[in-house]
């Protein structure tokens, strides 16, 4: 099992969700985050006081998947969230040790 984490541009969330649903992934966790890689921030101005805002709002999505689906999920997320401009984000893949469905107590791939 793998935990796939992707940091994407916020306006791409709906596209990513749809693309994942198309390949049969229905569970997803979404977190609002701030960050930057190579994308520059912006300046704000209040009565002559200028501030540079480095941190940009991003969305992090987390999906727990069976090993067999990993490549398809990466392709789906990449395709849906890519704009071609700096700041598109990154995808991280982690080994997932255990998964438990709380309602039924199922474990492992059955709980995905």
């Amino acid at each position: 099992m793998k935990l796939i984490t992707a940091v994407i541009k916020p306006f791409k969330l709906d596209d990513v969700r749809e693309a994942l649903a198309d390949i049969g992934v229905s569970g997803i966790t979404v977190i609002e985050v701030k960050g930057f890689g190579r994308q520059k921030g912006h300046t704000e101005l209040y009565r002559g006081a200028e501030y540079v805002v480095d941190f940009l709002p991003k969305i992090k999505v987390e999906i727990a998947v069976d090993d067999a689906l990993v490549e398809k999920v990466i392709e789906a997320i990449s395709g849906a969230s890519r704009t071609g401009k700096i700041g598109d984000g990154k995808i991280f893949v982690f080994d997932l040790q255990q998964v438990i469905r709380i309602r039924t107590g199922e474990t492992g791939p059955d709980a995905l």
Binding site: E44, L45, Y46, R47, G48, A49, Y51, V53
Partner: protein
């Protein structure tokens, strides 16, 4: 008793009665008559001016501070409103607006302390005296509330209450008396229709002194401290604009042509100043901002205040543009250059705007420039000198007295919150409350 029975006697008696008729006219002048139109307007104007403080100024300032301090600003404005209302009714009104006998040039008397004699039927001009008193109370409320912006986000609440109570008593009340209560500035012929000196220069300079005495906020100017909610600020600015009709047009104390013109010039000058600040910022920084246009409007409101009873519509445009441009420069250029942390630009908008307005009042009162006309025998130059005296004396008195009060409070109870309280935010540290539980 002997009755007049002869014909000659009757004619003489009738003639005698006829001579009394002119006295009826004098009787009207001797006992002022209540005018219901004036009274209705002034009761309304009073409400409008209170609206300027709660909620107007409260929201204007509240939106400009960081979210962890929003309640502290609202609390300060509300508490000042409450405290000043009482102090004014008990002694402020009397000392500002009654005859001080041999001290009349400097301060009023104590005859109306505790509202003695100001009952249901007391009349002031053509309105009930209670209405006049409450109208003036709303001015006494907003003036100290304006100062709050200068030391926002770092002042102790207890120290604030002491400062405002003392400041009202020894700074606002005397200056109000000097200009409006029969004191030396009014007698000198200084023109200040609705409070350019009494309210704005007064509060603005006191604000600068307070900002300097309390010192900069921790992290200023390198830490970003942008306004947390400009939607509140713009709402507040709108409320100030609307309420200001009560402030300026109400200062005529009557519902007449002067009040109508006061409203007109208020609107025109404010609009001109809003555009003045907006275009100045557009040129200077490349984009117009909503904080800029709202601040410009307030600057215009401030500047037209002393001139609202004497300037004409075209003069109002000039006053507005001057205020918009100069206050923009004061807030956006002068302040960062000199480095003081007048957090919400109380000096930049109210002192500078007030000075611009007070000086230009002398210019645009001239009938040749569309004004109501200068006093008989007074030239524009002479009027401008009188204005300068008004400005300078207000500036000096409030600066010195504010400094003394602040220093005494600093030595006794301390003015500023502790560093960790400032970091945590005043709402939690001083009030155990959060403005937003989202």
């Amino acid at each position: 008793m002997r009755y007049v029975t002869t014909r000659r006697g009757l004619i003489a008696a009738l003639g005698g009665l006829l001579t009394l008729i002119p006295l009826l006219a004098f009787a009207d002048q001797a006992t002022p008559k209540l005018d219901s139109g004036d009274t209705a307007w002034m009761i309304t104007a009073t409400a409008l001016v209170l609206f300027m403080t709660v909620p107007g100024l409260s929201l204007f300032y509240g939106g400009m501070v960081r979210s962890k301090n929003v309640l502290s600003v609202l609390m300060q404005c509300f508490a000042i409103t409450s405290m000043v209302s009482i102090l004014w009714a008990v002694y402020g009104y009397a000392l500002a607006f009654t005859d001080g006998g041999s001290f009349q040039s400097w301060i009023g008397g104590v005859g109306k302390v505790f509202m003695k004699g100001v009952g249901v039927n007391a009349v002031s001009g053509t309105i009930p005296e209670t209405v006049f008193m409450t109208f003036q109370m709303t001015f006494a409320i907003i003036t100290p509330a304006l100062i709050v912006g200068a030391f926002a986000e770092r002042m102790k609440f207890s120290a604030l209450m002491w400062f405002m109570g003392l400041w009202l008593s020894v700074v606002y009340v005397p200056i109000a008396h000097w200009v409006w209560g029969g004191g030396w500035l009014g007698s000198l012929g200084v023109l200040d229709f609705a409070g350019g000196t009494v309210v704005h220069i007064n509060a603005g300079v006191a604000g600068l002194i307070a900002a300097l005495v309390l010192g900069k906020r921790n992290g200023y100017p390198t830490t970003a401290m942008p306004p947390h909610n400009l939607t509140l600020t713009v709402m507040g600015a709108g409320m100030l604009w609307v309420g200001w009709f009560g402030f300026n047009a109400g200062s005529e104390l009557k519902a007449d042509g002067v009040a109508g013109m006061a409203q007109a010039v208020t609107q025109i000058a404010t609009a001109a100043a809003a555009l003045g600040w907006m275009f100045s910022e557009w040129i200077a920084h490349g984009k117009p901002s909503v904080l800029g246009i709202a601040s410009g409007a307030v600057a215009g409101l401030v500047a037209i205040t002393p001139a609202s009873g004497t300037a004409g519509p075209m003069g109002a445009i000039a006053i507005g543009v001057a205020a918009g441009v100069l206050c923009f420069l004061a807030a956006a250029k002068l302040k960062p250059m000199l480095g003081y942390d007048d957090s919400l630009d109380v000096f930049g908008v109210h002192a500078i705007g007030g000075i611009v307005g007070a000086m230009l009042t002398g210019v645009f009162a001239d009938a040749a420039l569309g004004g109501i006309g200068l006093e008989q025998g007074v030239t524009m130059g002479q009027q401008v000198v009188k204005q300068l005296i008004g400005v300078a004396s207000t500036f000096a008195y409030t600066a010195v007295m504010s400094l003394i009060i602040l220093k005494i409070l600093d030595w006794t109870i301390g003015l500023r919150v502790a560093d960790d309280q400032e970091t945590e935010g005043l709402d939690l540290a001083l009030h155990d409350e959060r403005g937003y539980i989202l």
